[in-house]
């Protein structure tokens, strides 16, 4: 039969291959679990069923929609076709202003109501999410 060395080498190859396969599987699996999709208010309206995963909603903060009290901040995200109400309690970035771009991360309650866990704005003052720029361009 085969010598000891050959057996050892085959064993090594099998272990190597199976660990590579396992790693790839692991990476893809957690990629699938941890990606966050980006939707505009219109995309949300067009959803067939509500996604309960964590998502991001992006658009412009509607003029005169920001309200604040000691508990929470509420505002409306619009892409000038559709709107969605957002409630949020947490840190508001400096660049969060009415009539400026915003990206909120959190969970949909229904198609008109979004509970944000995080508001993202780490960009410069002229920043508009590319998605919104595109959508505005389409109009």
């Amino acid at each position: 039969m085969y010598g000891k060395k050959v057996k050892l080498r085959i064993l090594f190859l099998v272990i190597l291959l199976s660990s590579i396969v396992l790693t790839i599987f692991l990476v893809l699996k957690s990629l699938e679990e941890n990606v966050i999709y980006f939707l505009s208010p219109t995309d949300v309206k067009n959803l067939n069923e509500i996604k309960y995963d964590k998502i991001r909603v992006g658009g412009m903060v509607k003029n005169n929609s920001v309200k604040i009290n000691s508990q929470k901040i509420t505002f409306i995200i619009t892409d000038f076709k559709n709107e969605i109400n957002v409630t949020y309690s947490g840190l508001v970035p400096n660049l969060f202003q009415e009539d400026k771009g915003v990206v909120a991360e959190g969970f949909l309650k229904d198609k008109n109501y979004f509970k944000a866990e995080k508001i993202l704005a780490k960009h410069d003052e002229n920043y508009m999410p590319p998605e919104i720029k595109e959508k505005l361009g389409e109009k």
Binding site: R56, V66, I73, K122
Partner: protein, 622 residues
Amino acid sequence: MILNYIGSYSLLFSLLISAIIFLISIFSIQNKKESIRNLNKLFFFQFFLVLISFLSLIILFVISEFSNTTVFNNSHTNKPLLYKISGTWGNHEGSLILWLMILTFFVFIYFLKSNTRPIRERLFTIVFQEIIIIGFSIFLLKTSNPFNQVIPTPDQGLGLNPILQDPILAIHPPVLYLGYVSTSLIFSSALASLICLNVNREWASFIKNWIFVSWIFLTLGILLGSIWAYYELGWGGFWFWDPVENISLMPWLCLTALLHCTLVLEKRSSLGSWTIILSIVSFTLSVCGTFLVRSGILNSVHTFANDPDRGVYILIFLFFLIFSSLIIYFLYQDKIISNKDHFNFLSKESSILINNWFVMYFLSVVLIGTIYPIFLEVLSNEKISVGPPFFNKLIIPFLIPFLIFMAIGPNLKWIKAKKFKIPIRLSILLFINLVIAFLVLKIFDEVTLKLTLLLTASFYLFFITFKDLIKKEYKNISQTISHFGFSLLILSIILNSFLSKEIITNLKVGDEINFQENIIKFKKIESSFSSNYQSLIGYFEINNKHLFTPEVRIYDQPEVITSEADIKTNLFKDRFLVINLVKDNDYLNVRYQEKPLMIWIWLSTILITIGGSLSFIKKYEK
């Protein structure tokens, strides 16, 4: 303005000189007339001309000469002097000149310091290096010339993004670039030694110095960026798995692996091919970083312009570099002389190799998490992002064996351990650490299997390196200090991550709020004016003794609001308070955090680089 012409023509002349050096080197290689005596003057000129052009740009910034497009776009007369100067490299064009200047500087230094290497290898290194320099020069002149002019001359500039007006951020890009750019020399030298069949011990001990230079600067550059993000962005963390951060982490991981396998090449003449591959990958990742950040594919404070031409140029250049280096690799790789001995499982080199594979795994996770969203968007137009849970989940479990190998490895012998015996003392220590970790977690009521094992492994590394530090009488001091620093870093990160506390709320003047054992009182708000911004300062008192004065700055040019957190640091914890404006409103958005051991994250990283730097001092003592 004459400086515009000086700057732009000296760039052009330096390109000419690069071409001359390139041709001379090719000529000398072909004719076997391998003398390179006169090249040092040319190298100096090449560097000097880029330096002149860089200095011209700095002067243009200092005197606020708005006829220059770059100055017009990124400066303003009201800006403090420091930020006028740092504004030079705070934009795309200027940062590329800086990049080019460091490139030409390093090739000059390489030339002076490589006397010990064979002339043919030096010539090849120079050829590759000049290809890179010429590539970047053309890129600079063609797509992003910093000396373009605006006609008629505007009265005022557009200003620098205020978020970048910060002392740490003034030096962050140059330090990071020193790290990035020196990988180009590792790349060129690796290819040259491959062609000249010189992949051996002598080459390894030569290139090791460059790898250390690159690694040290990259570590410091990442550290500076991280400190800045901590206090300026107001998120109160030090690492966010943001694409831009990941992109600087990838070459760092690759260099770390390279550093260790060069040691194996130096001591045991094996892993030659692997060293070459890692050298190529390190540089590729550095250029990739430039490409992804500069092309506007990643949106962040680093993205200066969305200019597709630039992206396309770097992409083509990058493909050219990768493709040609791979061809060279496959043509010559079978000629690498390698020690065919098999590694003994219980030897230093196998533990280095194992950890090399772990680092490669971490690298692939970061790579996939960073570029997968880009690919998905290009292919299917779906927009996604990959968050911290992805990275934490895939990296943390593998840190456990990684740390244990890191602790045991350096205590093993090269080549072979005499007999296979389980080191009893090490196992007992491991068990003791398990108990300590369990008890520590029990105190804070945070016991989970993953956390216990992770803490055990990091305590293990901590105690073993600490023992080595005391006992070893400065043998391998550089490695011991770096590993000790790393264990300290991981320990601080773990403790910091599960002991951090925070409260986010909206307060009016006079409000008071209880947060665990703390009473946070919002006393008053004051406003004041500086040269280029107006600031609102909130006065907060915590437990009637600590006064916090976080600030909101409203810049006028350009119109941007930034928050300046107030951070009180001591050896045990940071208290972090930041306020934000929400519209014209009585309420301020307030965030208070307690972050234990924060300062140790910075200190341990500094310790890691000190360890790296000591490897040079040791060499000169010999």
